[in-house]
Amino acid sequence: MAMSPKLIPSATQTAGPFFHFGLLQPTWSDLTSGGKAKGDKITLEGRVTDGEGAPLPDAIIEIWQANAAGKYDHPEDAQDKPVDPGFRGFGRAFTDKDGVFRFTTVKPGSVPGRGNALQAPHIAVSIAARGLLHHLFTRVYFPGEGLNKTDPVLSSIEDATLQKTLIAATQGNAGDMPVFRFDIVLQGKNETVFFDF
């Protein structure tokens, strides 16, 4: 049983349109410490659009992921796997005027789920913006991964069309880095699956 809460949690409020100067983002869209991280470097990019297909020029995209070995840089990850000093696992990017965000990161390894389940490689995503009173959570999965079929989160979404909104598309290479495209649709026919947890 949960302990009964004693304090009322703070409510979220919109980030509004004027956050760009307020939030730190010196180099936080590059998670690889300028290429020092171990593993396969990738570009993760996408466009955020609204219910009319218009791009969001004022969204904050944040990502959290395991390193290439499948280890989170966090004290509660008790796995016997190495932390990578060149990889923190957190990224922040702002969308540009065309609604586009872009990260340089590494392909995450797989991490355990609950019990004996194994999760497919994935990246957790948070989206905040003007017009969002509460941030949204989603996940990026990778195409062609054997573990996608048995991933407890992905396989809980039975509708194939909806499941597809969580799987990035390969989009060639930027230099020698593969590019994964993950568009985020906030509303309407192709709306991305968002999570609540």
Binding site: P9, T14, F18, L23, L24, V111, L132, L136, E191, V193
Partner: protein
């Protein structure tokens, strides 16, 4: 076998819905399909840590970022980051941004014809200490008009971004001022359904925090989700 000590679900009455037409920008941006319930995994109960200083030096004094003194009422803004059980959240990143005392943001898209202050940017960041405490010196921001409806004005506010120990505890919110007459008319503030949860977003004037002949003291605590007591494996 991997066990997960989950964070409590957010209390729904205490959180705003994104489907809130009184705030016009939500109309085309709110998801229409219900969100999918995800059982928390290692991914959700972990998140970025800030204890080793990688996010850079604290910027706690917003009144000393330029050559001269900015114009406005000096404000000591301090408080604690706590969880629902009242436990401090140490070593987490707290970022703030705000308008200047005339109600203008240092942002190219802010076209409100109020003066910019060359001595005020309006941004700060600190990492909370071992007791979960943070402290800034800033100015009381001005109210400003916005085009949500005709002749609409935003309540005076300071934007806050806080991480907490996990991706699940991440929060972006706003702090308001006690007695602000604009609060009654502010659809962003009033999107929070429960009165007690709205009150949580209002700072308190604290005479013990004020410094004589120098600055007003406002106290503002942020409460993040707490955790269930028992780990779950399945």
């Amino acid at each position: 076998m991997t066990e997960v000590t989950e964070y409590n679900s957010e209390l729904k009455g205490g959180q705003p819905s994104n489907n809130w037409p009184a705030y016009g920008s939500t109309v085309k941006r709110h998801p229409e399909r219900p969100s999918v319930a995800l059982k928390q995994t290692l991914t959700e109960i972990t998140g970025p840590g800030f204890a080793n200083g990688w996010s850079g030096p604290d910027v706690a004094d917003l009144t000393k970022q330029h050559k001269g003194d900015p114009i406005g009422e000096r404000m000591i803004l301090a408080g604690r980051i706590l969880d629902e059980d009242g436990k401090p959240v140490p070593k987490t990143l707290v970022e703030i941004w705000q308008a200047n005392s005339a109600g203008r943001y240092q942002h190219a898209n802010d076209t409100h014809p109020a003066p910019l202050d060359p001595n005020f940017t309006g941004r700060g960041n600190v990492v909370s200490n071992e007791k979960g405490e943070y402290r800034f010196l800033s100015l009381i921001p001005g109210a400003y008009p916005w085009r949500n409806t005709y002749n609409a004005w935003r309540s005076k506010h300071v934007h806050f971004s806080v991480f907490g120990p996990a991706f699940a505890t991440r929060i972006i919110t706003q702090m308001y001022f006690p007695g602000d007459p604009l609060l009654d008319f502010d659809p962003i503030y009033n999107a929070v359904p429960e009165e007690a949860a709205r009150q949580r977003l209002i700072a308190h004037y604290d005479p013990n925090l004020s410094e004589a002949e120098w600055a007003l003291g406002y106290r503002f605590d942020i409460v993040l989700r707490g955790r269930n007591a028992t780990p779950v494996g399945v």
